[in-house]
Amino acid sequence: MKEPVIVFDGVTKTYPYYGYITAGLKMFLFNLPEAINHTKKSFTALREISFEVCGGECFGVVGNNGAGKSTLLGLAAGALKPDKGTIEIKGRVSPLLELGAGFHPELTGRENIVLNGVLLGMTRKRVVRKMDEIIGFSELEEFIDQPLRTYSSGMVTRLGFSVIAHLDPEILLVDEVLAVGDINFQKKCMDKIMGFRANGVTMVLVSHSLDQVQRLCDRAMWIDHHEIRAIGEPAAVCQAYQGG
C-alpha cells in the first residue's frame, strides 16, 4: 500500500452558537449575560474522527443529511480548524466543495472561467492557455461571451465542471457535485473523474449516490450522527448504511 496523504487523528469539530452575536451588536449588548453564556455552548459536528486516505486512492464518504460530511471536507480543505485532534495533508488540495465557486452572474462565461480557475489554484496564464480546451469541453461556445445570469442552471454547472476538469490536482475533494448536467455531460464528467483516478489523483468523494460510490471508490466510510459507523469495502459500507 502507498503512504497515506490524508491523515485525520482523533478530530473533533464543534460549531459555537453564534446566534446572539450574529443577530447584531444591539442584541449582543442588551442580552450580554445570556449571550456570553450562549457562546460558551457549542454543537459537535464531528466527534473523534480518525482515518487515513492513501495516495492515489478514491475514498467515498456516505451518511445522512447533517451527519458532518461537508464539515469533514471543509476541515481537509483547510477552511475550518479542528477543536481537537490533528489533520495532516500531503500534497496540493483542490477543494471542489461547490461547482463554480466565485462565479459572478454579471460576468461573461469567459471571465468567470478565469476567475474560477485562479480561485481553484491555477495561474492566470495557465487558465488563458487552457481557455479553448475548457470552452470546448463545456460545449458552450455560443454563449461564452454572454453574462452568466443568462445561463440555465445546468449550463452554469457545466461551466463549473469544465474548469475543474482542467485543473491539475493532487488531492481532489468532491462534495456532491458529480450529478450535473444532462445524460451526455454526466458521462463526460464520469470519464474525466475516471481519468483523474487513472492518473493517480487522490480523491475524497462525498455522495448520496451509493451506486456511484460503489462504482468509483476503493474504500468508503459511513458517518452517522457525527461519528464513524463503518469504514472499509464500499459494497459492505453501503450495505450497512442502507440497512440503517
Partner: protein, 258 residues
C-alpha cells in the same frame, strides 16, 4: 525560495482577478461607470459650494478647489469602507469553500476604489490648471506618498469592518454613523483656520486629518508637509496593523459564522 516566487506570482494573479471582478461588476464594463465615479464627488462639491460659499460665505480662498481636493480622497476612503462591510458576506461561497488568504477579499475591494481614485485624478488636475495654481515637482512624489498612507489607513479599516461585520451583522448602521462623524470632524468642507485655536490639536487624533490636509497642501499650495505626512503615515500603519491582526485572529471563524 522557488516556491516563494511561485506563490507570489499566484497571489498576484489572485488579487488581479478579484480586483478585476470588482471593477467589472461595479460598472458592467461601461464607460458610463467612470462618469458615475466622478459625478458623486463633483455633485457634493457643488452642493457644499452652494451651502457654504454662496449662502454662508465662509472665508476660504479658492473654495472650489479646496472642496475638490478633499472630496475625491474622501470618496476613495468612504466607498472602500462602505463596500468592505459586505465584502466577506457577499463572497460567502468563496470563504466557505475555497482556501486562500481571506485578506485578499477586502484588498480587492479597496484596490477597486483605489483604481477609481487614480482614474479620477485627471479631473482634479483639470481644476488645478483651471484655477491657475502652479503644478510643482512635489506632485510627482507627493501623490504616490499620500496614496500609500491613505491606502494603508483604508485597508486597515476595511479589514476590521469586514471581519467584525460577520459577527455583528448590524455593524452597518454603526459604520454609517462613524463615517458621517468622521466626515465632519475632518477639514473637508471647512479650513483649519476657521477652527478655534485651542481645539486644533485634537484634530491630530483623527487619522484622516493628516491625509486630507496633505492633499490640501499638495493640490492648493504645491508642496508636501513632511512633519504632518510622517505623523499620518505612522497612524495609518498602526491602523493597518490593528486591522490586520484583528482580521487574522478572527479569520478562522469566518467559515463557521457564514
Amino acid at each position: 525560495m522557488d516556491a516563494l516566487v511561485q506563490n507570489f506570482s499566484y497571489y498576484k494573479d489572485l488579487v488581479l482577478v478579484l480586483t478585476a471582478k470588482e471593477i467589472k461588476v461595479k460598472y458592467k464594463n461601461s464607460l458610463l461607470g467612470y462618469v458615475w465615479s466622478v459625478l458623486n464627488p463633483l455633485c457634493l462639491a457643488v452642493v457644499f459650494y452652494f451651502a457654504f460659499k454662496f449662502v454662508m460665505k465662509v472665508p476660504v480662498e479658492n473654495f472650489t478647489l479646496f472642496l475638490i481636493s478633499g472630496l475625491f480622497p474622501w470618496q476613495w476612503f468612504s466607498t472602500s469602507v462602505n463596500a468592505s462591510i459586505t465584502a466577506l458576506l457577499g463572497n460567502a461561497s468563496l470563504v466557505k469553500k475555497v482556501s486562500f488568504p481571506r485578506y485578499f477579499i477586502p484588498l480587492a475591494t479597496v484596490l477597486n476604489d483605489t483604481f477609481h481614485f487614480v482614474v479620477s485624478l485627471p479631473i482634479v488636475f483639470g481644476f488645478v490648471v483651471f484655477y491657475k495654481v502652479h503644478l510643482t515637482a512635489a506632485w510627482v512624489y507627493g501623490i504616490p506618498l499620500l496614496m500609500v498612507s491613505q491606502f494603508f489607513m483604508t485597508y486597515g479599516c476595511a479589514l476590521a469592518v469586514s471581519a467584525l461585520n460577520l459577527f455583528f451583522r448590524d455593524l452597518e448602521r454603526l459604520v454609517m454613523i462613524g463615517l458621517t462623524v468622521l466626515f465632519y470632524m475632518t477639514p473637508i468642507i471647512y479650513d483649519m483656520s476657521l477652527v478655534p485655536e485651542g481645539f486644533r490639536q485634537y484634530f491630530l487624533l483623527n487619522p484622516l486629518f493628516g491625509i486630507i490636509e496633505g492633499w490640501h497642501s499638495l493640490f492648493l499650495r504645491g508642496h508636501v508637509d513632511w512633519g504632518l505626512y510622517l505623523v499620518s503615515l505612522l497612524q495609518s500603519l498602526v491602523i493597518f496593523g490593528v486591522g490586520f491582526a484583528l482580521f487574522k485572529k478572527l479569520s478562522w471563524k469566518f467559515a463557521e459564522v457564514l
